[in-house]
Subunit: 294 residues, 2 copies
């Protein structure tokens, strides 16, 4: 869902200041959910691959103040914004910034202890290729953390075929740009296919109703619906929808934020280990259940 430079194609979310602000709002709203449990030890070398405008970089830096964070993005403009964002919000942070292509990172084999990737793979034409490159720069025994959404996880009350169609247009446009808005459900097979071991995926569920006004505002309105609304012009230009259909879909999405409405979305957070050799080891996650009650 985050602003992400895609070297080989367009970027579905666009690059406007409004979009940059939305992405920072989103980072605030979801930080507690998505960063929970992600802290890196003092001195550990951490690569954030695809830092965009720095929303997650600031969280990483404040959550792991003594780690050595290197943040990479393919866009110089995004990097400049990220640097300013981190300077303003975590002034004590010491982040190394590098402009580079995810598929050809300017780093030696195994030079990082940990890699962090958030809302990046969803925008790539070749997520396997990117993960292979990330595995290359990760030391044996090092971990990769991947966080992605899955727009197919969105459901809501009142249900609406128009609202679902509007979301589908966003999914189609992201797909046309080479991405995959349904990538959350694929994290386990993707990481396993690239040779990571001990792949552990957790669903991170967001559910909003009138008892959670902060979540209705911060997530349903300002994150999810704002993201769908942002593709309006592209969807109309591409002939994927009509003004009438689109407006009805957006209006129906907003109805889910009114009293009596509900909204559900699931993110996925995966952690896996670089086994350091082509031999693929696997251990079964402890406990039989990946279940949680919010």
């Amino acid at each position: 869902m985050r602003r992400r430079a895609v070297a080989e194609g367009g970027y579905v979310h666009g690059y406007s200041p409004v979009e940059a602000r939305r992405l920072n709002d989103q980072a605030d709203a979801l930080a507690a959910l998505l960063h929970a449990g992600t802290t890196y030890p003092a001195g550990s070398r951490v690569l954030e691959a695809g830092c965009g405008v720095g929303a997650q970089t600031a969280r990483l830096a404040s959550g792991s103040p003594r780690a050595q964070i290197t943040a990479v993005d393919v866009s110089e403009d995004s990097l400049a914004q990220a640097r300013a964002h981190v300077a303003a919000n975590v002034p004590e942070a010491r982040v190394q910034w590098r402009c580079a292509d995810l598929y050809e990172l300017p780093f030696s084999d195994g030079m990082f202890d940990h890699v962090f990737v958030c809302f990046v793979l969803e925008h790539l034409k070749d997520p396997e290729g990117a993960l292979e490159e990330l595995r290359r720069v990760l030391r044996p025994g090092g971990t990769v953390t991947v966080i992605e959404g899955d727009h197919g996880s969105a459901f809501f009350h009142p249900d609406s075929a128009y609202a679902r169609a509007a979301i589908d247009r966003q999914i189609q446009l992201q797909s046309a740009a080479g991405g995959n808005a349904l990538i959350g459900r694929r994290l386990e097979p993707l990481l396993s296919a690239v040779g990571f071991a001990d792949v552990a995926v957790r669903p991170c569920t967001v559910y909003a109703d009138r008892a959670r006004p902060g979540l209705v505002e911060g997530f349903t309105r300002n994150t999810f619906i704002a993201m769908v609304e942002a593709v309006r012009d592209n969807a109309l230009t591409a002939g994927l929808t009509t003004r009438t259909e689109w407006d009805r879909g957006i209006a129906d999405l907003y109805r889910t934020t009114e009293p009596g409405g509900t909204f559900h979305y699931t993110f996925f957070k995966a952690v896996a280990v670089n086994p350091g050799s082509p031999t693929h080891t696997r251990s079964t996650a402890s406990g039989p259940w990946a279940v949680s009650c919010g």
Copy 2:
């Protein structure tokens, strides 16, 4: 999802011994998830409304051994099975069994401290009417706990239009029988509309991949896919599908249980208070987020 007598219509899951076993398997698999946090104090009067074959009754009795549990179902046959199931599994339990219609309970106003309803509302033509009756027999300040699934929350990898169509056939048949397989997302507005206060709904997410073989077997195969498969003959008889389409859908659902496959489903658990007067009070849930990572 559970066997449930529906006074005014058919019961989508049927009444076979295989189905009864599936429902008990499901109860075992999901108990840790769904019953977490549900314990009632010694001496409290607890009504389980719609106990079916007793799968949840046994959990209630073992989780709240000193509560006074009354279990009600509209089917004498189900009650007999429930009684036998509880006797076999929680022999020390002292449960009162009553055969009664949920809409006309043979109890005085306010005679229970707590009401527990699990996988029941999804099968009712008039869930509001049932909740009104449950509120009547609940004392002011007493709580109702409602657990329901939502089949629209199911998504998986590999994705498949056939698999989604097979699930939709189950949803259609449940709807034709007067129920609503998408009721989970509606718990908050339903409870609020009936006048319950402090309605707090939590998503309970189940996610299965190859790292969780117990969950692939216990939930994806033996609970969810088994439930969909059980409506095969009805779906064919009703002309909702063809043998070819159906078999492809089921085969594609099974593909999600193979290595590299993933499966996601969300239950909802609501707790609300009977305010004891028509005045509807509400407090905002503590903390702005209803989020969780499994």
